[in-house]
């Protein structure tokens, strides 16, 4: 399999070299074409920083990031990555449909083509009847669906998702997770998914990269060898629980439970 994202001994430091904060130290990771890779770790382990380095929203202090053999900057210019943040960041003055069209407007896609693609995405996310609504008329889950549709608008090869379901309730979260898998299977987009939730990571991913904090490092990469498609019943499989335990162990969630808060 081809590697679409290569991260080679990347470090990132905020502030001055002497008293700055080291967000990432010597992180190496490759993301394969078409895979669903989750990054999991406690707060402050640099997951979001890593995502922003790939999106060219930050620059590494050391090391190299390449996307399809391009620099992050070239990849950004070529619009190879779509981004979904934790908050939907929709433009409240645009209807759902026009929010989805925004990236295409910026790239200069002609109006007819923009509308066609927005319709396609609205159908993909089952949002068609909400096309003319404004964001504030939608629930949080729906807003995040619109954000996903928008990120897919220029058919990026890679979807970078920074805790996209973190602010949603558990039920919505699971539903959107399943929908995301469906979209992933249909579009064959590569997904790099940052999350706090062990269950979510195991249910969705091909591989889970476990990170540890201060300074952020990749602790382990765990292959999730569960069959696909993955219906809800996947939780009945012993292997699901084994993997869950494995990820929890890599996160040191279960060591010395009494001091877990440290």
């Amino acid at each position: 399999m081809d590697n679409v994202i290569k991260i080679e001994s990347v470090s990132k430091q905020y502030g001055s070299p002497r008293d700055g904060v080291v967000a990432l130290r010597d992180v190496s990771l490759t993301v394969r074409a078409g895979e669903f890779l989750s990054l999991i770790g406690p707060s402050g382990c640099g997951k979001s920083t890593l995502l922003k380095l790939i999106a060219d929203l930050l620059e590494p202090s050391a090391g190299r990031v390449s996307i399809n053999d391009h620099t992050p900057q070239a990849a950004r210019r070529a619009r190879e990555c779509g981004i979904v943040f934790q908050s939907p960041t929709l433009m409240e003055w645009r209807s759902v449909e026009r929010n989805i069209q925004l990236p295409l407007e910026i790239t200069g896609v002609p109006s007819a083509e923009r509308q066609r693609r927005a319709r396609e995405l609205l159908d993909l996310l089952r949002l068609r009847e909400f096309a003319a609504r404004f964001p504030r008329e939608l629930s949080g889950g729906m807003q995040q669906q619109v954000a996903i549709a928008r990120a897919l608008a220029y058919r990026p090869a890679i979807l970078l998702m920074d805790e996209p379901f973190g602010a949603l309730d558990e039920l919505t979260r699971e539903r959107l997770g399943r929908e995301l898998l469906e979209i992933w299977q249909r579009t064959r987009v590569t997904i790099l998914f940052v999350t706090h939730s062990v269950g979510e990571a195991v249910r969705l991913s091909d591989r889970v990269a476990v990170m540890s904090p201060r300074p952020g490092r990749i602790e382990r990469v765990i292959e999730i060898d569960l069959p696909r498609p993955r219906p809800i019943e996947i939780r009945g499989l012993p292997r699901y629980w084994e993997l869950l335990r494995e990820v929890r162990a890599a996160l040191h969630l279960d060591d010395d439970a009494g001091n877990g808060a440290q």
Binding site: L57, R76, G82, I83, F85, S87, T89, E92, W93, I106
Partner: protein, 275 residues
């Protein structure tokens, strides 16, 4: 025949119900004019009882007659035009400068650090007190009065522009950056629409202040405009004209404010169906 009458009365009865519903739902539309009529009657009554001469307190009818006379002979329209011109010119200049300087300050923290102490200091000066200085330097006239309107309305619009543009969250900027949007695209597709609601708050205050600024300045030294007319009417002991002028000023101010409010509703339409 009876049948016909019965049907007719049923229909009337329905209309009556509809009217009574309408009154219940829009009670303010009924009560506001009623209150006005009562106030006017009370006004007439006070004068009738106390026998005030009209230069102290004219009756509503005398005011209305003065208004109609002075409107028809062109005096009120002439001064209204002058005042509107001053407000329009002063406010427009203020609008353009506040929006552009505000945007520049919002984008450049260094510039803001340098300029803001002076800006705040100028706010401590009662602008109208600069009037005599302006007379010495550039004489009197509508354009000079407009200049005062600019000075008084500038600051609130400036502050709201800065607050509006600064209020754009970092994630939105990152999003635009991820699209490799140009500075112009960030400006038109993100900053302007995002800042508009706050900006309009400043515009509403700015319009109101422009009116106050212009009228005060006209009262003090102008030879034209509604403020001048107030002064003139006072000097001539033409109190009905004084009342009529205040009335025209109020209607003008309400008109200007409503224009802004309507524009705001039309432009910021995404906030209209707010829950």
């Amino acid at each position: 025949m009876n049948h016909e009458i019965a049907r007719h009365s049923t229909r009337l009865w329905h209309i009556e119900i509809q009217v009574s519903h309408w009154i219940r739902d829009h009670i303010e539309y009924v009560l506001v004019p009623v209150a006005l009529i009562f106030a006017l009657l009370a006004w007439e009554l006070v004068i009738l009882v106390n026998q005030y001469p009209s230069f102290i307190l004219p009756t509503p009818r005398q005011v209305a007659i003065s208004f109609i006379d002075n409107w028809n002979n062109g005096i009120l329209p002439y001064h209204l035009r002058i005042t509107l011109f001053e407000i329009g010119l002063g406010f427009s200049i203020s609008f353009v400068f506040a929006a552009s300087v505000g945007y520049a300050l919002a984008k450049s923290p260094l510039l803001e650090k340098i300029v803001s102490p002076y800006l705040i200091a100028t706010q401590a000066i009662p602008i109208v007190a600069l009037g005599p200085l302006i007379i010495i330097w550039i004489n009197t006239g509508p354009v000079q009065n407009a200049f005062i309107a600019t000075l008084v309305s500038f600051f609130p619009m400036l502050v709201n522009t800065i607050v509006g543009v600064r209020g754009v969250r970092e994630e939105y900027r990152e999003l635009m950056r991820s699209y490799s949007a140009s500075a112009w695209q960030v400006f038109t597709k993100l900053e302007v629409p995002a800042a508009l609601p706050v900006f309009f708050g400043g515009v509403r205050v700015g319009v109101t202040l422009s009116v106050i600024g212009v009228v005060v300045v006209e009262l003090l030294w102008a030879d034209r405009g509604l403020g001048f007319l107030l002064n003139f009417a006072r000097g001539a002991l033409d109190t009905p004209l004084l009342f009529a002028t205040v009335g025209v000023l109020s209607i003008m101010a309400i008109g200007l404010y409503s224009t802004v409010a309507v524009l705001e509703r039309v432009i910021i339409r995404w906030r209209r169906n707010e829950p």
